[in-house]
Amino acid sequence: MNKCKWWTIVLLAAAAAQVSEARIKLVALPDRGDTVIRLDNPAATLIEEERILTLQKGVNKVDFAWNGVSLDVDSIRLTVLSHPDQVKLLNVSYPPNEQALVWELASPEALEVKARISYLLNGIDRLITYKAVADKEETQVDLKSHLVLRNFSGEDFTAARVLLNYGEAFEQGIQHEETKQLLFMKKGGVPIEKIWTFDAAELPWDPDKVSGNVGIPVTYKIKNAAESKLGENSLWDGKVRVYQDDGHDGTIFLGEDNTALVPVGEDMEVYVGDSRDIVVTQQKMQEKQINIRRNNNNNIVLYDTDEIITAKIENFKDKPAKLLVVQHIPGQWDMEKCNMEYERKDAGTLEFTVELKPQETKELTMHYHRRNVR
């Protein structure tokens, strides 16, 4: 059996009748009692373990060592659970060249004390992964989430209560260098919205002039809300893999994305892949300086522009599609004429929702003036 990375946290209680007898007389080596692994903070994992300390009357030294285990020394806390009024923590000292500390506890009498030791332990954490299987029509998904526990802390946990930031705590053991994948959530029939997005600032305007294929990004939107059979808790960040029912009693893999934390009420957006059956070809048909204003030296100091942009939007699919077209006009501007309705998302961003029938081609024309260009 490989034991090369096999350490335990050793807890030693040394009763010191006299202060000068520091760290010599080992009185007890208490076993670890109830242990809690708290995984609610993605930045650090908190371990809480309970131990019974056998204290003698007077000052006791309790030695806590963590050889081969990486923990945050400044996070170590000792809480006396039983007889807290009687037992006093006098000080904490750190012996030289050791992964250890020594608590000095004063007890008015010989006592068995229940204490809780907590610390932030490195190398142990959790991940969340999602698997969504869409139906053939892509209107809903069966959403599954797995909790992946990873323990590379140097410490074995034979049985611990694992706490997340919501849901019931559960009992789970995990060895050093072990990874465990547990089913965490399973919801059937979660509605999705499928959206195609052409952002004129991110995609080439003329796909013909690009050597590779230009795909229109396709996103699945899942609302973390009760109407989507979700909404009880935030959905943690993690990798989402999307599959689809292939209609032959199997699935195909559609793509994957990382999702950020999705609070209740917000949307999880999963960029699945690209569509090559929707093609947007955008062109600037006109850009002229108008309303030119000059200084005394006859230099141009201010002008407006007169610009026309057209975008040919082709749906080669035999299904309808809802395409979000994002356009950008910098600075101060007025729309002179536009043949489609848009929503102004911010000063310089316009969003058009273009409903395309199967095999339909539409043309968007924006005629606008940029004002007071210097």
């Binding site: 190398g123 992946v148 994948q181 199997g250 195909i252 892949g273 699919k317």
Partner: protein
């Protein structure tokens, strides 16, 4: 390298027990491969019959020397799903390429299960052969796919499916397959990363194309019957299903016919655009992926097309050129670039140049003018076939006017700084047209 994809069942009488005796080693009853071409990725579905006991079962799955992504492993019972609970998948410490499923079964006996995972190392690509008729009016188009297996695993009698489409991938499967630990080790989370967790989704999701190096090992030819690949659209992708099963041992490739269409009407299109192609004429073969062109049932996956022409009645061939083309949706126009040619010539000539209409500022300096250029463009078709020629001109400024001096060809403005003439010269003929391009500068633009 020999593959090891083993599945073993260990029965555990009680929950606390670790791995115990291996009881059975069930073989694959069925395997299905869904191979992607835009990424180095294959979805594998296997059916196996497990013998479970009532109570807790442990099932060991190992994949040494394969390219399986262990984070994608999933098992589901195909029958009695309500009685069978897959509690956890554990990757035990100090072992590699091994997973252990904890299964709680409410019944004993044989249970068919499906095991899914993603693997790297299998790939496919499309390629084409076009054969033009002697008069170059129609073309026979033959499509092929070539499937290669470098996954480390032999796949015997596998149902094979191919996916056309651009998927979004966060991690390369081959990288996931080669990790020491399936989900890697935890790394300290910096505050910056923490911020990112709650902000927009991870950027750079784009996937660099992961073309596999094709093993040029011999194709397996000589099938008793030519299989016709079934095609269907799913989401944004196309699924090609090869009928029956295929055996593709590790290290081998297999070529399969995809379609064969004769008599596709094609147009010989020649283009001249100095800004894009330089001083030369580029030949395109143009058609449309629609029913009028005897196509249009499915999109055509991108690939290399080699074009030949029947050069005589004996059916001898001449090689015309090749074109690496992109994915072609249904009903989309296709223009296959076959490269530069010398038998169609476009010669634009500047016949006259002058400046005019100067304007001056209050200091007497020039602040506006026009440049007036007269061009004559000669188009020669030296071939014995009619051709179509598109000549695109580009201007240096968006402020311009064009005046035609004749009515030869069709003229259109393309965008703010380009225009196009289209001509269709007869075999062995010459055409020419003249236009005056006036460009405005300075105050003359107002």
């Amino acid at each position: 390298m020999k593959k090891f994809l083993l599945l073993m069942i260990a029965l555990a009488a009680c929950a606390a027990q670790a791995k115990v005796d291996l009881v059975t080693l069930p073989v694959r009853d069925r395997v299905q491969l869904t191979i992607y071409n835009s990424a180095d990725l294959t979805l594998v579905r296997e059916n196996r019959a497990l013998t479970l006991i009532e109570g807790l079962n442990k099932l060991q799955f190992s994949w040494a020397n394969t390219l399986i992504d262990p984070t994608s492993l999933e098992m589901r019972p195909l029958e009695n799903a309500g009685d069978i609970d897959i509690l956890a998948l554990t990757y035990p410490p100090r072992t590699q390429n091994l997973g252990l499923w904890n299964i709680k079964s409410g019944r004993g006996g044989k249970v068919p299960v499906e095991i899914d995972y993603l693997t790297s190392g299998l790939s496919w690509r499309a390629f084409y052969m076009g054969t033009l008729t002697e008069d170059e009016k129609t073309m026979r188009l033959e499509g092929y796919v070539r499937v290669s297996n470098n996954s480390g695993e032999d796949y015997a009698d596998a149902e094979t499916r191919l996916i056309v489409g651009e998927i979004n991938l966060i991690d390369q499967i081959v990288m996931l397959a080669q990790r020491q630990y399936p989900y890697d080790k935890p790394v300290p989370v910096s505050p910056l990363v923490m911020k990112g967790l709650f902000m927009a989704r991870a950027a750079g999701a784009g996937e660099p194309e992961a073309e596999m190096a094709f093993d040029s090992f011999g194709d397996v030819a000589g099938m008793a019957e030519i299989k016709e690949i079934a095609k269907e659209g799913l989401s944004e992708y196309f699924l090609y299903t090869i009928p029956g099963t295929e055996t593709i041992p590790n290290g081998w490739s297999k070529r399969l016919p995809s379609f064969d269409t004769n008599g596709i009407p094609v147009l010989n299109l020649y283009k001249y655009e100095a800004d894009r192609y330089g001083e030369g004429v580029v030949r395109f073969l143009s058609f449309k992926n629609d029913t009028e062109h005897k196509l249009g049932e499915t999109p055509i996956p991108g690939g290399m097309l080699k074009v030949f022409r029947t050069s005589d009645e004996a059916g001898h061939l001449a090689y015309e050129g090749q074109s690496d083309f992109k994915y072609i949706p249904v009903n989309e126009d296709v223009e296959l670039n076959l490269g530069y040619v010398g038998d169609v010539v476009v010669e634009p000539k500047l016949m006259d140049y002058k400046t005019d209409r100067f304007s001056f500022d209050s200091h007497g300096n020039i602040d506006g003018w026009d440049e007036i250029s007269t061009y004559k463009v000669e188009v020669k078709n030296t071939r014995d076939l009619p051709v179509k020629v598109e000549i695109t001109g580009n201007t240096s400024t968006p402020y311009w006017d064009l005046e035609r001096k004749d009515s030869v060809g069709k003229y259109e403005k393309v965008d703010l700084d380009s225009f196009k003439f289209t001509l269709e010269p007869e075999p062995r003929s010459k055409m020419e047209y003249t236009y005056v391009l006036t460009t405005h500068y300075g105050r003359r633009t107002e």
